[in-house]
């Protein structure tokens, strides 16, 4: 937060922000609140992608796969095995973490476009299994009647209740991301991103570090999936198509790849924009596609990158 260096200024802004965030459910309609909750879940997905792409510089399309695994594991464990909510989300974390490690170990050694393809294939395989392993996943129809999340004696049913849960999780997710960024891990990720050979020559086991980033992205995806399952109480395979990974990617690029704040801002925008641009009707997708091209040409560093340049009073040319 270089914009506000004084500690009192920072406390003031954070307090304002905190009050605003807590007041949101009182100020919005149920429909908007559902959107906000969805945005919160996407914030987790995008924060996750930020670890592997933003920090470590490796393009991955696996987020939707982790999202699906987290959702299904949570759904099935709470519905079929009757375990409490926290056990469900814990199992989601373990499952996605394990998948990330198994998927990441051989593929992170490969060159950039291979990882992109391999993660794409992984996401497709997950969707495929979800659609066809009907005995467990209920096939194309999906899982319905997922029990609501429970925290101790509280059962979360309304959007308002989920809002507070998601808010806490997103804030924690954000703080963890910032903590990682401002540590030797964050620095090593950036080193790997800019010159992996140099990082390796300084003693950094880059495959292991990349695997760490990838696992973090998987775990964030799993938690997002779990929250999604309980919020919507329904999961089905067609919710987890490749398009979701694209949306997550666009969100990160729009907000600013490499910045947790950018991840959060990008996710909010990517959920809000379709609503705000509803008047475009069937032309929306065309605008969306062309918007991605324009983003890459004119603002590849995203909004936070632009903000940083403005704050530094620097030039306007994109660096890409």
């Amino acid at each position: 937060m270089r914009l506000v260096p004084s500690p009192w200024g920072r406390i003031f802004i954070f307090s304002l922000l905190g009050i605003a965030l807590l007041a949101v459910p009182a100020l919005t309609t149920n429909y908007t609140l559902r959107l906000v909750n969805n945005a919160g879940i996407y914030m987790l997905l995008v924060l996750g992608l930020n670890f592997i792409l933003g920090f470590a510089g490796q393009l991955s399309f696996a987020q939707v796969g982790f999202f699906a695994i987290g959702a299904y594991v949570s759904a099935l464990m709470t519905l079929d095995l009757g375990v409490p909510f926290f056990a469900g989300i814990g199992a989601a974390v373990l499952a996605t973490g394990a998948c990330a490690i198994v998927l990441g170990m051989p593929t992170l050694k490969l060159r950039g476009y291979y990882l992109a393809l391999a993660t794409f294939a992984f996401a497709e395989i997950v969707r495929h299994v979800a659609t066809n392993w009907s005995e467990v996943t209920r096939g194309a129809a999906g899982v319905v009647g997922i029990p609501p999340a429970t925290i101790g004696p509280l059962t979360l049913v309304t959007d308002r209740q989920y809002y507070y849960l998601i808010l806490v999780v997103v804030v924690l997710g954000y703080l963890v991301a910032v903590a990682v960024q401002n540590s030797k891990f964050g620095r090593s990720f950036e080193a790997i991103r800019e010159s992996e050979v140099a990082a390796q020559s300084m003693g950094i086991d880059s495959p292991a570090r990349k695997l760490l980033a990838f696992t973090l992205s998987g775990v964030y995806g799993g938690i997002a999936g779990s929250l999604h399952a309980h919020l919507f109480s329904v999961v089905s395979p067609d919710e987890f198509s490749f398009d979701v990974s694209i949306v997550v990617l666009v969100a990160l690029l729009l907000g600013g790849s490499g910045s947790p704040l950018g991840a959060v801002v990008g996710a909010a925008l990517v959920i809000a924009l379709p609503e705000l641009l509803r008047f475009l009707q069937q032309y929306y997708q065309i605008v969306y596609g062309l918007g991605i091209v324009a983003l890459m040409i004119f603002m590849p560093e995203g909004l936070t990158g632009l903000g940083r340049r403005l704050a530094a009073g620097g030039n306007w040319r994109g660096r890409g």
Binding site: L59, Y113, A121, H128, Q285, V293, M296, G320
Partner: protein
């Protein structure tokens, strides 16, 4: 059995043509064109327009559709590649994704959401050849593919243009130093790539339902073919696609129709894990 094999080979030809277009762009500019499948869709829709809507005679309709797809390829390269020439390839990859989305939805707006269909080009469903009953469109696809491959071979090895294309694909810097107009050659590579996809698209119209999403399934299989063939190898990309086509049909017939996609995906994963350079590609040492 022969019918099956022929269908597999003809689908494999389609995947091969698409993969060929994909690898040409990849070798020339180091970019994975995620919209390659949407060029196929363009070819298919343009084919429907020229043949069914404008009611041009079939050979002319095909030619016009294919050339029009080439023009789409040129425009595509102007938007997705030229402004990002000096940026890292990953930004172009993302713009191809974006432009692909725009193209698919533009098609939806222009031609409407209902899938289009058309009877086989030769008029009949099946041909009786050498005592066998064979699907006519599959035969036509294979024949056309062979013609296209021959044309490409002649172009690349026999003409100056072809040599320029190859040189640029091998090493842009060296090509530039040799005086080759690299920018124009790259534009031509995109056009050629689109033309290949356009041919595949037009040929597919009687076989596939033409819809805005048709490119996605095809590009994925074509990629698998490219990976199996090996990223550095142009013939490998085609042969890989061919292999995928045959494997897909055989799996559907002998194992399970529902899981045929899973088997293709599994083969992709296994290749990536155990032989990432594919069967024909070269492992290139990174020069420091």
């Amino acid at each position: 059995m022969e019918q099956l094999l022929l269908n597999g080979i003809s689908m494999g030809c389609i995947y091969g043509l698409v993969g060929l277009g994909f690898i040409l762009i990849h070798e020339a500019v180091g970019v994975s064109n995620f919209a390659q499948g949407d060029f196929v869709m363009c070819g298919a829709y343009l084919g429907v327009t020229t043949a069914l809507i404008l009611k041009l005679p079939l050979p002319l309709a095909v030619l016009v559709a294919v050339l029009a797809t080439g023009i789409v390829g040129y425009l595509f390269h102007l938007i997705a590649y030229v402004p990002l020439r000096v940026r890292p390839p990953i930004t172009v990859l993302i713009t191809t994704i974006g432009l692909g989305i725009a193209m698919r939805n533009a098609a939806l707006v222009i031609w409407g959401p209902w899938p289009r269909a058309q009877p086989p080009f030769l008029g009949t469903q099946e041909l009786h050849v050498a005592g066998l009953v064979l699907p006519s469109q599959s035969l036509l696809i294979i024949a056309v593919t062979l013609l296209v491959l021959l044309g490409q071979y002649l172009l690349f090895s026999g003409t100056r243009l072809g040599r320029m294309l190859r040189a640029t694909a091998m090493d842009q810097e060296v090509a530039r130093l040799m005086g080759i107009p690299v920018r124009r050659t790259i534009a031509l590579t995109f056009v050629l790539s689109a033309v290949l996809a356009g041919v595949a698209g037009v040929m597919l119209v009687p076989v596939f339902l033409v819809s805005s999403e048709m490119g996605l399934a095809i590009i994925f299989k074509a990629w698998v073919g490219v990976v199996i063939g090996g990223f550095g190898s142009i013939p490998g990309a085609f042969l890989g696609g061919l292999a995928v086509g045959v494997l897909e049909i055989l799996s559907a017939a002998y194992i399970s129709s529902a899981y045929k996609d899973a088997i293709v995906l599994l083969i992709l994963m296994l290749t990536l894990l155990f032989r990432p350079q594919g069967f024909f590609g070269e492992v290139v040492a990174e020069k420091i």
